[in-house]
């Protein structure tokens, strides 16, 4: 199939022919185009999600500011913002872009495959995801507005339409959207897994798989387990809403004068099912970024990845432990206290494979004098943010401390640093690194993003990320709870001077600071959008392997430009593990996985599994 992306303007055709070409271009089964479609969807989503978060920040510190064309932001509007922000960011940005976007664009090439295992299923997954996004966005326009129960949608709030505005049609649309997304993600993960298992080229053994592929592989495994459970939970909730069942509703539940008299279910069942999905979801979002960080640090340091096999093991271990610790979201939710202790231990345990990764990253770049290209900077930023966000994880994993910190801004700071910011840094690193492959077509070679703008973008984003999320730890320690639509003028039993009002208003100065820095952080992203728009047309032309990378996606025949007739395509085979860099050799300092020359075999012997001293 011809890559229809960036097809030059067609000659005057009949309109039906043009329409057919457009249809073919849109509904293509070419994995590269599908990858780009996913990335465009994620970019659109991240812009919307960021704007929503700014509205939240602005409303918190200037509650009287009326939103143009809407009016004042009411408490239910604020909660709808929270819900749509969380849902969009987690599902349509952090799951879609690394796993489906770059997964489609890069994964087949990295294992030497020409296509994904199921191209039609792949296209169907994308269009289902797009339909899910449209459904979610359309829920803001229905009477009552969008759902207000957060991305976790705890029942009975989410199960009973009378529990609040947005919980009627808005909630149904939310359920439909996430249901579609779950089906799409499961299908796409089956595709990813099959591709990795079946479509590897000759010589691409499991040990030689780049760590990015291991990240996609583990995330896909988790996706299948997690999203199928989520889909089941969504169906049960839908039945509770419309089919008179009582999976999550206890007898005698009285919401806004409406009494539930059916069977006796438990809201805790939803929490178990949701978090059984929800926690692995966090790892689905971050695992591809971890894999990419490992590869980029090695690439730009001209080093092997330190302890390659340990990195593979820890990736799989994180995946395994990731499905065993959902209960740490439920320490104060009514879980048996003994169960909390058990989940606390499994949560503490996952800190070890995560720490092993950090140690490997530090060792890989230790005294390597790396070249500071923008992708490398973002990979280093990933390490820093992963550390900062990760170190508060063991604190929150202790039930006794969670008893104070649960649902405060301390938690918000924790997961935004480790998942959102580190995740976005991973995505930026991927974008700057793979931009030549993203932009190459059969008509022109790929382009590079501007390095100067990239450096500026990196420093502003790093500074902004820390300035926004570090102070949130402090407001959280001071007691500020999440999901509060207002911090001032809260009517309480004692009037405006109620103890609750006093507690909240004391966090205001810091909250103002956070809002200012959030505005700065969001503005800094305009640098990236500008860079993107400019480099798409005027960016520097990239050579076929601009970063001296060793992985297969940079193999000349994997590049769409210049196009090779199918008969001329040489067979690709892999001869060694990735990241074979040699610091001592002057003429050839790196050996790509595909290069057949077995020169000085002794020196390039795989030493990743070094014997202990």
């Amino acid at each position: 199939m011809t890559p229809p992306f960036n097809t030059p303007p067609a000659q005057p055709h009949s309109t039906s022919a043009t329409r057919r070409r457009l249809c073919a271009a849109l509904f293509t089964t070419d994995h590269r185009v599908i990858g780009i479609q996913y990335l465009v969807l994620a970019l659109l989503s991240v812009v919307i999600g960021t704007l929503l978060s700014l509205l939240m920040r602005i409303h918190l510190v200037w509650p009287d500011w009326p939103l143009p064309l809407h009016g004042p932001i009411l408490p239910e509007d604020y909660l709808a913002l929270v819900t749509i922000h969380g849902t969009i960011m987690l599902f349509f940005v952090l799951t879609t872009a690394p796993q489906a976007g770059f997964g489609n664009l890069i994964l087949p090439a990295q294992i030497g495959a020409r296509s994904m295992a199921f191209p039609a299923l792949n296209a169907a997954s994308f269009w289902l995801t797009a339909a899910a996004l449209l459904t979610l966005l359309s829920s803001t326009l229905v009477p009552g507005g969008a759902a207000i129960s957060g991305w976790t949608a705890y029942p009975p709030l989410s199960a009973i339409p009378s529990s609040g505005p947005g919980q009627a049609l808005g909630m149904d649309l939310w359920l439909t959207s996430i249901g579609l997304f779950a089906i799409a993600s499961t299908a796409s993960s089956i595709n990813t897994l099959t591709t990795i298992v079946r479509n590897r080229c000759h010589g691409m053994t499991w040990e030689r798989l780049p760590l990015t592929v291991w990240g996609w592989f583990t995330a896909a495994l988790l996706s299948i387990i997690a999203f199928s459970v989520l889909l089941a939970a969504l169906l049960l909730l839908f039945c509770d809403r419309h089919a008179g069942t009582s999976f999550f509703l206890p007898t005698g539940d009285l919401v806004n004068g409406i009494l539930h008299q059916g069977g006796n279910g438990s809201p805790l069942l939803w929490l178990h099912l949701f978090w059984f999905f929800g926690h692995p979801e966090v790892y689905i979002a971050i695992l591809p970024g971890m894999g990419l960080t490992s590869m980029l640090l090695a690439n730009f340091s001209h080093r092997r990845v330190f302890a390659y096999r340990t990195m593979i093991t820890t990736t799989l271990l994180i995946g395994l432990l990731g499905i065993l610790l959902w209960g740490h979201h439920m320490f104060v939710a009514g879980l048996n206290p003994f169960a909390s202790s058990a989940f606390s231990i499994s949560t503490m345990a996952i800190a070890l494979p995560a720490a092993a990764k950090v140690l490997s990253w530090l060792a890989t770049i230790w005294r390597s004098r790396p070249s500071y290209k923008t992708p490398m900077l973002f990979a280093l930023g990933f390490v820093s943010l992963f550390l900062t966000g990760g170190l508060t994880g063991p604190i929150l994993a202790q039930p006794i401390l969670d008893e104070y910190l649960h649902n405060t801004f301390f938690v918000v700071a924790h997961f935004h640093l480790i998942m959102a910011m580190a995740g976005i840094f991973g995505l930026y690193a991927a974008t700057y690194y793979w931009f030549p492959l993203l932009t190459a077509t059969s008509h022109h070679p790929g382009r590079l993003l501007s390095e100067r703008l990239g450096h500026l973008h990196f420093w502003c984003t790093l500074l902004g990320a820390y300035a926004v999320f570090l102070p949130m730890h402090l407001t959280g320690l001071a007691g500020e709870p999440r999901h509060y639509a207002q911090l001032t003028g809260i009517p309480g039993p004692g009037g405006s001077l109620s103890p609750a009002g006093a507690l909240l208003s004391h966090t205001l100065p810091l909250n103002r600071f956070i809002t200012y820095t959030a505005l700065f952080l969001a503005t800094a992203q305009l640098i990236f959008l500008f860079n993107l728009a400019r480099s798409l047309r005027k960016g520097k032309i990239a050579s076929s392997n601009p970063w001296q990378a060793t992985t297969l996606e940079w193999h000349p025949t994997m590049n769409p430009f210049p196009p090779l007739p199918a008969s001329d395509t040489p067979d690709i085979s892999v001869h060694r593990a990735p990241c074979q860099y040699q610091s001592n050799q002057v003429e050839i300092s790196f050996l790509p996985q595909w290069a057949p020359i077995p020169f000085e075999q002794d020196e390039i012997e795989d030493v990743t599994d070094t014997k202990p001293e």
């Binding site: 330190f306 649902n407 639509a485």
Partner: protein
């Protein structure tokens, strides 16, 4: 105090705001018996996290700035020894945390503890005292009528409910253990008193017990910390801790006023 130092270290601009923060120590003051140990453990954890953060960033920076050197290969020294050290550290923290958790949650309150029932309703907290008969009367959701002064649905036919006291303020005596039974009428609510270092969800269909001992008399905020609908942010109440004798007279006055 330590936290304020932390603040000024990371964010110099906050010096300006220091005056607005009511106490230099950013955690609200502790007024419960178990809170001291919790604060101590939290502080220890924060310091350890901060130290590890600084150490890792230092290694990162030195590694980036120092001149190029052959790549490290000593897997044991670089990977496994630090991991073993971290495992020990996390195990010690877990052990200590589990002991604190066990002492506050594994066993119930002593039989002599003051019994109070807490009910979360969109968007208010109600507190019920069992009265002289020391037994809570039956409630039924179909009898709930906030407009008629029966927000909890107390059953008039149950003799135990006649002397039950329902209050919108939680009043407790200092230095006596309290056994709270948490309930929710409609959706999940989060019962939280930051100054008592307490947080526990109230779940519809469940009665969850929570016990603690307040120590310092005063008024404290009770918040809802689980998203419960559009009025979530204003679902708060006040906890009033009184010296035991004042509490007794408050209870007596309340009982006299009751019909």
């Amino acid at each position: 105090m330590i936290c304020s130092r932390l603040t000024s270290a990371c964010l110099p601009s906050l010096w300006l705001d220091r005056a607005a923060i009511r106490s230099p120590w950013l955690l609200p003051r502790d007024a419960s018996a178990h809170g001291l140990a919790l604060d101590h453990h939290l502080l220890l954890n924060l310091w350890i996290a901060l130290a590890l953060l600084a150490l890792a960033h230092l290694i990162l920076l030195i590694g980036l700035l120092a001149r190029r050197h052959p790549e490290p290969t000593r897997l044991w020294r670089i990977e496994y020894l630090p991991l073993a050290a971290l495992a020990l550290l996390f195990a010690a923290l877990t052990l200590k945390a589990e002991r604190l958790w066990a002492s506050s949650r594994y066993t119930g309150a002593s039989p002599s503890a003051l019994q109070v029932e807490v009910t979360g309703v969109q968007f208010a907290w109600y507190f019920r005292y069992p009265g002289p008969d020391a037994t809570f009367g039956l409630t039924h959701p179909s009898l709930v009528a906030p407009g008629e002064g029966n927000p909890l649905g107390l059953s008039p036919t149950d003799p135990h409910s006649a002397d039950d006291l329902v209050s919108s303020q939680l009043v407790l005596p200092a230095n006596r253990e309290v056994d709270l039974r948490l309930r929710a009428q409609d959706v999940i609510h989060g019962f939280s008193i930051p100054e008592m270092r307490l947080k526990q969800n109230a779940v519809p269909g469940q009665t969850i017990h929570l016990h603690f001992t307040p120590t310092a008399p005063g008024t404290y905020a009770i918040l809802c910390t689980q998203l419960c609908g559009l009025g979530h942010y204003r679902m708060n109440a006040t906890l009033l801790i009184l010296p035991p004798d004042q509490f007794a007279s408050w209870l007596a006055a309340k009982q006299k006023a009751a019909p």
